[in-house]
């Protein structure tokens, strides 16, 4: 388990932002699909997902061997991030 990260540490990674944007757009995805969409390898994707999950921003559910990730609907942080992404993408500027 990571120590709690500061906001600047969570947002300092371009890939983590991209993962959050992708999950916000797609609703839910498995690790391979996220990796494929972002053009990065499975291992790196898993590491970033773990950091975000430890922060409680995302959550996963197991279906047999398959892990499906989504934004944590009970997390105020996830809600705030969702709002931020949506406002950012709506206004464009």
């Amino acid at each position: 388990m990571h120590d709690k990260l500061n906001i600047e540490e969570v947002f300092s990674s371009r890939l983590r932002i991209k993962i959050l944007k992708t999950l916000n757009r797609m609703g839910e995805l498995n690790v391979s699909d996220i990796a494929r969409r972002l053009g990065i390898n499975y291992e790196t994707t898993s590491q970033h997902l773990k950091i975000l999950e430890d922060e409680g921003i995302i959550q996963h559910k197991m279906f047999g061997r398959i892990r499906i990730f989504r934004l944590n609907e009970h997390s105020p942080k996830a809600k705030a991030i969702q709002n931020l992404i949506e406002i950012w993408e709506q206004n464009g500027k």
Binding site: M26, G27, E28, N30, S32, F63, R65, I66, I68
Partner: protein, 395 residues
């Protein structure tokens, strides 16, 4: 240039995927289906049901199950019961259990991965999802024979005996299997077959009056008022009836006939539009069939074709056809044959499928009237073809 006027109000109501609110002449079957699944609205986790729907092409199997699906889902929402109706055409998924289950899972999790597990794992996943969401799924397997053909007994067994491996757990999956006839499931092993065959709803082919009702309903939905005369509807109903009571065929004809009416800027959808429509669907009789006819048969047919072209009616009487034949004979300086002879021509032309005849008895019983129909060939095409053949014969 004249302004484009369409005979249609909403042609999507004639689309193959459109499910009307009312299914004429399938009320009883719809009630029966509702009855079989009434538990799903009351105690969905205590029971699962399996129903087979059989019937020929165009007898309303898919429409019936989809209507049922929409109705029961609406009722479930009202009662706050988590019930999903999922309709899958097995042929579309090449009869693969894996792909079919993947589609069902994707209705809950649209981005569920497409690879990396087996059909058994997928079935377990589906049950896990249904358990977590306390949901019951009514899964309709349309063109079920396609699944049986590809996967055999094992897949069907897995689906029907699912609960045996989940003892004391809530029931989650009911099945409706749609197929043309029971011969498709004859190849299943006896125990699998027996689990399926307890509830069978067989849809009889539609009669002509029933097809007329169906077409009238669709005309009211899809066309502007008074655009499709009764005789066109009757002709299309007759054609659909001769296609084994196939309502889907009739509805498609109706749409095509409307398209022909629009293309030719006609004010209404005439019977001839329907004939053109059918000739675009069914291959018309070969020219050789016409060449093989005797001279007076050709002349009689030419007179009849002209009559249809002039009157735009769906059927003409033998008396009218005989008058038209006499005129054709006059034009060609040929002595017309007797009425008795015309009867023989009529029989031969009916046997070749060029015309159709129907005899009615009038109410005051003064005699019988023979009605002639030109079911598949547009009158003007037949006239043109016959004129060309006759001209060639004269040369």
């Amino acid at each position: 240039m004249s302004q484009y006027q369409s005979v249609f109000r909403d042609e999507t109501k004639l689309d193959i995927n459109y499910v009307p609110h009312r299914l004429p002449h399938r009320d009883r079957e719809l009630h029966l289906l509702m009855e079989f699944f009434s538990f799903a609205l009351q105690t969905p986790d205590r029971m699962a049901q399996r129903v087979l729907i059989t019937g020929d092409v165009g007898t309303g199997k898919t429409a019936l199950s989809q209507r049922f699906g929409t109705d029961i889902t609406r009722e479930a929402v009202k009662r706050a019961v988590h019930l999903r109706y999922v309709h899958v055409n097995c042929r579309e998924y090449r009869g693969s259990l894996f792909l079919i289950l993947q589609h069902v899972v994707s209705t809950f999790h649209p981005n569920f991965p497409k690879r990396g597990y087996s059909a058994e794992e997928l079935l377990r996943t589906l049950m896990q999802i249904l358990d977590e969401e306390s949901a019951h799924v009514i899964l309709t397997l349309d063109e079920f024979d396609s699944l049986v053909e590809r996967e055999g007994s094992e897949a069907v067994y897995q689906l029907t005996r699912l609960q045996e491996t989940r003892q004391n757990k809530p029931q989650r999956l009911s099945l409706i299997c749609i197929l043309r006839n029971l011969s498709a499931i004859a190849k299943l092993d006896p125990s699998t077959r027996s689990t399926l065959q307890s509830n069978i709803i067989n849809l009889e082919k539609y009669s002509k009056p029933q097809l007329t009702d169906i077409l009238n309903d669709r005309v009211a939905l899809a066309f502007k008022p008074s655009m499709v005369p009764e005789e066109t509807i009757n002709l299309i109903a007759e054609l659909a009836h001769s296609e084994n009571g196939n309502a889907r065929f009739g509805i498609e004809l109706l749409w095509r006939a409307g398209k022909y009416a629009n293309a030719e800027n006609q004010e209404t959808v005439t019977p001839d539009c329907a004939r053109k429509a059918v000739s675009s669907i069914i291959p018309t009789i070969r020219k050789t069939d016409l060449t093989m006819l005797g001279l007076h048969e050709k002349l009689f047919l030419l007179g009849t074709a002209r009559l249809f072209k002039q009157t735009q009616k769906a059927s003409v009487t033998l008396t009218e056809a005989e008058q038209a034949y006499t005129i054709v004979c006059e034009e060609r300086n040929t002595k017309p044959n007797t009425h008795t002879q015309l009867w023989k021509y009529l029989r031969n032309l009916t046997n070749t499928g060029i015309i159709k005849t129907d005899v009615t008895t009038t109410t005051n019983s003064r005699g019988r009237t023979t009605h002639i129909q030109l079911p598949t060939i547009p009158a003007h095409e037949l006239e043109k073809e016959l004129a060309a053949i006759l001209e060639k014969g004269d040369a």
